[in-house]
């Protein structure tokens, strides 16, 4: 279990973290999600011990033990770098074995045990027969798995991954992240990873920590943060969204309504005179693949609204550009923009 309490970090005059609190349960897979400059990597590096918090800048506990003063080598963490940072002059096998070889003789495993352990790890990351290769002779995905095996070799209690899929191309990314998810489940290892890709975070994490400008905006399961975003930032960061001014559903003062394009329904007729319906003109229709996008303009205030409908529904409606339709907000979020941030 990792506990982070009121963690503060300043680089020169730039405050990267403004007192962050976080609790990661044992065996959990947590994603730190946010745009660049949100402090997610800083938080990860502080947990790892690659950076240290400000004086009086909070506390980090592993299983209840304070580790804030320990450097990275003494925290029992496996850290995987975005660039992988494999040792270029060592073979794949030696890269993985290295963390064990350099231990003091008391805790160093015997050569036969070491070989067995490294080979097990290489099997685990599906690189069993590539032990003799050098990092330069591997593909990006293979390098990433060597980096992972190296991080696991020291038998860490916590696994920390900095943008683990950042340097891979789209196809390999998707394969590897599912594979990593399964591996993490199998090992039951408490894992924190950093990403700026919301799809990645929502797909594999048990809980997502959404960060912005050195603060945590929301913590929750992918379902929670997607369906019940706490702030406009979370709403906007987790996918495309329409931000609309006053609508019939507005309740709070100064609130805006946020609706995702796929949460908008279109009808030809007013159904029951419901207050949730707005009238709009179809401005643009784009059908591509299984879905279509409709750009609309509200008649009451001229606001642009984007809707996403299935191809079947669009064909059923048979809309033309310039026609009038009724908008139904299937799932609207009323959120107040906090200008104090």
């Amino acid at each position: 279990m990792i506990e982070v309490k009121k963690l503060k970090k300043t680089f020169g005059r730039y405050a990267a973290l403004h007192g962050v609190d976080l609790k990661v349960e044992t065996g959990e897979l947590i994603a730190l999600l946010g745009p660049s400059g949100s402090g997610k990597t800083t938080l990860l590096r502080l947990i790892a011990g690659l950076e240290f918090a400000d004086a009086e800048g909070g506390e980090i506990l592993f299983d209840g033990q304070p580790v804030s003063d320990r450097p990275v080598g003494q925290r029992g963490v496996g850290f995987m770098f975005q660039s992988y940072a494999l040792f270029r002059h060592l073979s794949v096998f030696e890269n993985v074995a290295f963390g064990l070889r350099v231990r003091p003789s008391k805790t160093r495993p015997k050569e036969t045990d070491l070989k067995a352990r490294v080979n097990d790890l290489l099997q685990l990351v599906q690189l069993g027969d590539l032990g003799k290769r050098y990092p330069a002779q591997l593909s990006g995905g293979q390098r990433q798995r060597v980096a992972l095996a190296r991080a696991l070799a020291i038998d860490p209690s916590v696994l920390l991954l900095d943008e683990p899929f950042g340097a891979l191309d789209a196809k390999v990314r998707k394969e590897l992240r599912r594979w990593l998810r399964e591996l993490q489940r199998r090992l039951g290892l408490t894992t924190v990873f950093v990403t700026h890709d919301q799809e990645e975070a929502l797909e594999i994490a048990d809980r997502v920590v959404i960060m912005s400008t050195g603060r945590i905006e929301q913590i929750g399961t992918p379902q929670e943060v997607y369906d019940h975003p706490a702030t406009p930032f979370v709403m906007e960061f987790l996918g495309e969204v329409n931000r609309m001014a006053t609508t019939p559903t507005d309740t709070k003062n100064g609130a805006s309504t946020y609706v995702r394009p796929h949460d908008i329904g279109l009808r030809r007729e007013r159904t029951n005179g419901g207050a949730e319906e707005l009238e709009a003109v179809v401005k643009l229709l784009i059908v591509r693949g299984a879905n279509g996008r409709v750009e609309l303009e509200r008649i009451d205030n001229g606001e642009r609204v984007e809707a996403q409908l299935s191809r079947a529904r669009l064909e059923e409606l048979n809309l033309k550009e310039g026609e009038r339709v009724f908008i139904e907000l299937l799932n609207a979020h009323s959120l107040v923009v906090d200008y104090s941030i």
Binding site: G73, F79, A85, F98, A136, S139, G140, A153, I154, D169
Partner: protein, 299 residues
């Protein structure tokens, strides 16, 4: 051989090598159709590496260039009105040989010692203890800012004298090493800095201490960057050992000068002198070029 294997591996889009190898490397540049066939013998685009050209083209062009330079060097000699007296100089071949061997000895000893100085100085430049860093900086700037000849004179007649070092050869080696240590420390510093920060952090992350990090992670990788520059420094060192003749070290240049003064056959002494240095330096220059090519591939 190894490079070719790597080029062949770049077919996959996920290959780590794609994008690192400039396009066209490993393939012969093509010449536009319609130009005169002789063009294939002499003209290639500037970015085409000499290594990939056909051997006959390389041999022909090398011979042509060598011929031109030899002619330019030879022509002035035809205007000289001297009678060559090689025999007089040949009688002093023992003296030449002794000087030559001493030059080699001095250079090798100075290279080893200056590398030691260079490593110490480079480490001082990265020390936690700040005065050490300034010692490194001042040392490097003093050496690089003054002529070697001046350093030799001051260090020999003042410092070595005060320290009671009487052996000229020993003093010479130490002075050369002091000077080259500063340059080599800069070479080593650049080599260490070429090993990325994330390499150091990942070494720390898997539990290496500072000494282990230097020993197993930084030095092995930095060495590859350092080797070509270090070989280049050896070339300079061999040439600059000639300056030790100013403090009467009887190395190659000093002995050639002396023979010239005795026999009055100045040119007959200096031509073998130049050739002698070239025999030492050219192979090292080739080695440097080879190492540079290798370090470019194996990043």
């Amino acid at each position: 051989m190894r490079q070719k294997g790597m080029v062949n591996e770049t077919h996959s889009s996920d290959s780590p090598r794609s994008g690192e190898i400039p396009e066209g490397r490993g393939r012969l540049p093509t010449v536009k159709p319609g130009v005169h066939p002789w063009t294939h013998w002499f003209f290639y685009p500037p970015e085409s590496s000499m290594r990939v050209l056909p051997t006959r083209v390389r041999v022909l062009n090398f011979a042509a260039a060598l011929g031109l330079i030899a002619l330019a060097l030879y022509l002035p000699f035809t205007r000289l009105e001297t009678t060559w007296n090689w025999l007089a100089v040949y009688r002093y071949r023992e003296k030449f040989l002794q000087g030559y061997l001493l030059t080699i000895g001095l250079s090798v000893a100075a290279l080893i010692l200056s590398t030691v100085f260079g490593v110490i100085s480079a480490l001082a430049g990265r020390a936690r203890f700040l005065p050490l860093r300034y010692v490194n900086r001042i040392y490097v700037d003093l050496v690089r800012g003054t002529p070697l000849l001046v350093q030799i004179l001051i260090l020999y007649y003042v410092t070595a004298n005060a320290l009671g070092v009487t052996d000229r050869n020993v003093a010479g080696v130490i002075i050369l090493s002091m000077s080259y240590g500063a340059y080599i420390s800069e070479v080593i510093r650049a080599g260490i800095e070429s090993v990325g920060k994330s390499q150091l952090e990942s070494a720390k992350a898997i539990g290496l201490n500072t000494t282990q990090t230097y020993r197993y992670v930084i030095f092995p990788q930095a060495l590859r960057q350092i080797m070509p520059s270090l070989a280049g420094q050896l070339v300079s060192l061999i040439k600059d050992s000639a300056l030790l003749s100013i403090i009467s070290v009887s190395e190659f240049t000093k002995n050639a000068q002396e023979t010239g003064n005795i026999t009055f056959s100045i040119l007959e002494c200096y031509l073998p002198l130049a050739a002698g240095y070239l025999i030492l330096t050219l192979p090292i220059s080739f080695l440097t070029r080879y190492l540079e090519g290798r370090s470019r591939f194996e990043t």
